[in-house]
Symmetry: C2
Subunit: 103 residues, 2 copies
DNA sequence: TGCCTATATGCCGATCGGGCTATATTGCTG
DNA sequence: CAGCAATATAGCCCGATCGGCATATAGGCA
């Protein structure tokens, strides 16, 4: 899990994940949508793959990548004990907004 | 938000946060519980502070640190759209386990 | 003031990571 | 098989970062 945070620390990789979240895509499609060279994108995909965050399907020369969300669930689990801390703050914020809207 | 992931990428910093989640602590207390020198811990605390993940309270020479969960909520928000993906997988897994147990 | 405690900062060495270019690999097609 | 398309790998450079040691700063106390 240690490495999942490290993998997500890079903005390009999060952008790749966000693109793949919409739909499965081949590498060239990602290259077209990012301002990175093809080798750089392939390198990021390798990192994501080794972290279990994406999976590949081969179709002739194309490799279709898709999100594999397992490791994200682990991050969610790490966050869980903190969640009540900010929910408490948000509740207070909501109450204040309600008061303002009530005016 | 980009930097929150980077800040959490370091295991020592996550360990510090986990310790502070239990209770507010002075620096020396953290040093006692980690295998890091005091300057290294102070350095991590500075990073956490600048990322808005902890807050400090001064009490004579002691500085009491506590968690400030705001940035964690942003991470949670980034995760949100992925959540249904793994929930779907977990549901499928549960169904399969149910089938097996049904045998 | 001088000393002690608690914490922060500066600096260095080593390592890591992201980007690039060049090249290898794989699969299709003529 | 030759050649093209799609992707992966290798090698390199540079900047960032983590850890430690030495030292500075700040507050309390004799």
């Amino acid at each position: 899990m240690t490495s999942t945070f490290a993998v997500l620390a890079d903005p390009s990789r999060r952008e790749i994940l966000d693109l793949l979240r919409e739909r499965e895509r081949p590498v060239g499609d990602l290259v077209d949508r990012l301002t990175l060279t093809q080798p750089t994108v392939s390198k990021h995909l390798r990192v994501l793959r080794e972290a279990g965050l994406v999976e590949v399907r081969t179709d002739a020369q194309k490799r279709w990548y898709r999100v594999s969300p397992g490791p994200l669930a682990e991050i969610d689990a790490w966050l869980a004990p903190y969640r009540r801390m900010w929910e408490k703050s948000l509740d207070a914020l909501e109450r204040r907004l309600d008061e303002i809207e009530g005016d």
